[in-house]
């Protein structure tokens, strides 16, 4: 690990240098394996948050309180420490600027991570591909990459909308409920614009959002999903 960045109170990004890394596509993930002194192994999948950049990649880790892997990655790992990775993995939930758009991204919590890799790739390519992100979080302080998203959203071509489900700051004008059919009807591209849709988050959110997109007329084959599991994964 080369460096660590605190994103929110419960989320930390790890900047890794991986000699021999073959490159990756936005949306891909890695398996991280930890081995205890007694040989016990635990493995979890984490999305890559950055587009390909030589041997460097960033993982963003949400700390799951009773998890076996994430507390170590989020709290204990220090610059210079090593980590066992397998990857990149995934050829399904991927997007790169050459695939075009419009891009329809829907995320919940740390489900923004692979979507961020796509948006960063879009920005790095200087691509003017129209893109929309609808991101759900419990509160404003728990929005991962908040400042960067606001900056990217101000740059044109990308519209970012937030849904804060538990607490909203004073004067909040965004959504204040979970992502639902009506919300997607308001913010999503219409099916006629043939967007490429990527939905990532806890299973409940992904089920609701993908069902709503299909009800709104989107071809299920254009709606790709990545579920974290019922509570954000086993951690």
């Amino acid at each position: 690990m080369a460096a660590a960045v605190d994103e929110t109170p419960g989320v930390r990004s790890l900047v890794l240098d991986c000699p021999g890394w073959p490159g990756h596509l936005p949306g891909q993930h890695v398996d991280v394996r930890l081995t205890a002194e007694d040989g016990y192994q635990a493995q979890r999948s984490y999305s890559i948050a950055t587009p390909a950049d030589g041997t460097r990649l960033t993982l963003t880790i949400e700390r799951i309180a009773d998890g076996e892997v994430s507390p170590y990655l989020a709290d204990e790992l220090r610059p210079g420490d090593g980590l066992e990775l397998r990857g990149p993995i995934g050829g399904w939930f991927v997007w790169e600027p050459a695939l075009g758009g419009p891009l329809q991204l829907v995320g919940g919590g740390s489900g923004v991570v692979p979507l961020m890799a796509m948006l960063r790739a879009r920005a790095a390519a200087g691509a003017d591909i129209p893109a929309r992100l609808l991101l759900s979080a419990r509160s404003w302080d728990e929005v991962i990459y908040r400042d960067e998203l606001e900056r990217l959203g101000a740059g044109g071509g990308l519209e970012v909308r937030f849904a804060l489900t538990r607490a909203q700051p004073p004067g909040w004008t965004g959504y204040a409920r979970r992502i639902d059919h009506d919300m997607l009807g308001e913010v999503a591209w219409s099916p006629e614009e043939m967007p490429r849709s990527f939905v990532c988050g806890p299973t409940g959110l992904v089920e609701a959002a993908t069902r709503a997109l299909v009800e709104l007329g989107h071809d299920p084959a254009t709606v790709k999903a990545e579920r974290f599991g019922p509570t954000g994964g086993p951690g």
């Binding site: 990756h24 990149p88 399904w92 089920e207």
Partner: protein, 95 residues
């Protein structure tokens, strides 16, 4: 068929690389039970059982089970009629 206990076939991508020697989540598969065609990365994945179970998105039948053993991954075939690799150049995959 859907419930809260599953994730996506994507999550089993690492095991499939070990079993097939190639990135397989974009490969298409056909259910031998109901004929549904879907990417392996889009199948319903149950990863909390011993072994990772991939079920059909159409009828829920078990299509593949991947079990990590000390000597390597064993992939058991269930109701899978065929699997074909994705069109176009493969995505970067683990060496």
């Amino acid at each position: 068929m859907s419930d809260d206990a599953h994730v996506d076939g994507n999550a089993v991508g690492g095991m499939m690389i070990e079993a097939f020697g190639a990135e397989m989540t974009a490969a298409r598969s056909c259910c031998a039970e109901c004929g549904t065609v879907a990417a392996l990365g889009a199948l319903l994945a149950y990863t909390r059982a011993p072994g990772d179970v991939l079920r059909c998105t159409g009828c829920g039948v078990v299509m593949l089970v991947a079990v990590a053993r000390p000597e390597g991954v064993r992939l058991s075939l269930g109701a899978v009629r065929w699997i074909e690799p994705p069109a176009g150049p493969p995505a970067p995959a683990a060496p």
